[in-house]
Amino acid sequence: SCGHIKISPPVVRLGDPVLASCTISPNCSKLDQQPKILWRLQDEPIQPGDRQHHLPDGTQESLITLPHLNYTQAFLFCLVPWDDSFQLLDQAELLAGYPPASPSNLSCLMHLTTNSLVCQWEPGPETHLPTSFVLKGFRSRADCQYQGDTIPDCVPKKRQNNCSIPRKNLLLYQNMVVWVQAKNMLGSSVSPKLCLDPMDVVKLEPPMLQALDIGPDVVSHQPGCLWLSWKPWKPSEFMEQECELRYQPQLKGANWTLVSHLPSSKDQFELCGLHQAPVYTLQMRCIRSSLPGFWSPWSPGLQLRPTM
């Protein structure tokens, strides 16, 4: 075809200059010999180039410098006059944006239901350019200084700032190092490194709390008491856990009372001294005991009526 645009560099930082050249080959028959090469950026008015000259082989070349590219994406056209209009010879796409900042707030949780380690991060300010994020990692030892086998890159789904490392890429009960790499056409950056054992960052769910209906005959009918049982969240049963119970009377502004250091499973638990209201709300949460772990959220509230 007749015209050809070259830009360098094709991607610039927003506001930086762009240098473009449009060449028309001599054998472009339809055109008269010395066509005036013109330019158009997006929908802006048509403008001449900064300089137009002959190349040794007879090619006409026009050069233009766009001092500040303020579009994150724009088309640059090379045209020539034609009757009382213009003819487009070529079109080039200009992209402008920023190199990626370091992803921040990298955190991970081990999901026992899917057996995967899900890490999430904050991507940093908008770069206006297609930017890819990859979660990288390697196996390590206690202090995370040692660099063992690299784990396969975890590529998040489109526009998601989290990634799920499948079980087969995890070595449980050993430390590993993970970080996020961001890359676009203007550069790349990495997040700070995270050193963790997947089993120390388990996403724990609360235990299953249940009311126990104690037959009237069984217990001396002491008022203000209720009985409950609980068992740990099934997928976490293999983990030794310690739990907390909190309860409050259903009264406006009532406070929670906390009972700590409870076992993770209990067939029968008696709670007495509940005289402030007919109905009490109870909740429980657990945490891995004697090894690192996070508290589970509180269980949904259980409304119970103490004995009258």
Partner: protein
């Protein structure tokens, strides 16, 4: 006398034993429900003919607990069972996910033991090589071999659990 074992190693190991035993029971329940293979004791003869081994744990027995030998046998046994579980691949699409998880958990527990042996300076220079694995020639052999291998693994872990408690 051997160096005392760190508390975190013992707690993590006990947790891994419970985790593996939990998956093992799920798999045995699934094998029973799906294929009516509910009695490992009815498969002993088949086990002999298929060459399904029982990993020794003499060093971990409560009467003659010997820490280094126990750790070494624990590691070798876990490697053996990991190989056996790998040989069961293709047991059935429904059981494959649970079997994969069990095999990974066993392999990871073997690494935990090996790391500790290295930390104690009692690890042999090279990890034990994988012994020959039985070749299963029919779906039945793979399922029956699975029931037997997992039930042997469960009792192996029970001995290990008692030993770890003693060592704690």
């Amino acid at each position: 006398p051997s160096l005392p074992l760190p508390r975190s190693f013992l707690l993590k190991s006990l947790e891994q034993v419970r985790k593996i035993q939990a998956s093992g029971s799920v798999l045995l329940e699934q094998l029973c429900a799906t294929y009516k293979l509910c009695h490992p004791e009815e498969l002993v003869l088949l086990g002999h003919s298929l060459g399904i081994p029982k990993a020794p744990l003499s060093g971990c027995s409560s009467q003659a607990l010997q820490q280094t030998q126990c750790l070494s046998q624990l590691h070798s046994g876990l490697c053996l069972y990991q190989g056996l579980l790998q040989a069961l691949a293709g047991i059935s699409p429904a059981l494959a996910p649970t079997l994969d998880l069990l095999q990974l958990d066993v392999a990871n527990f073997a690494t935990t033991i090996w790391q500790q042996m290295e930390n104690l300076g009692v690890a042999p220079p090279v990890q034990p090589t994988q012994s020959a694995m039985p070749a299963f020639t029919s779906a039945f052999q793979r399922r029956a071999g699975g029931v037997l291998a997992i039930s042997y693994l469960q009792s192996f872990l029970e001995t290990a659990r008692l030993a770890l408690h003693h060592l704690a």
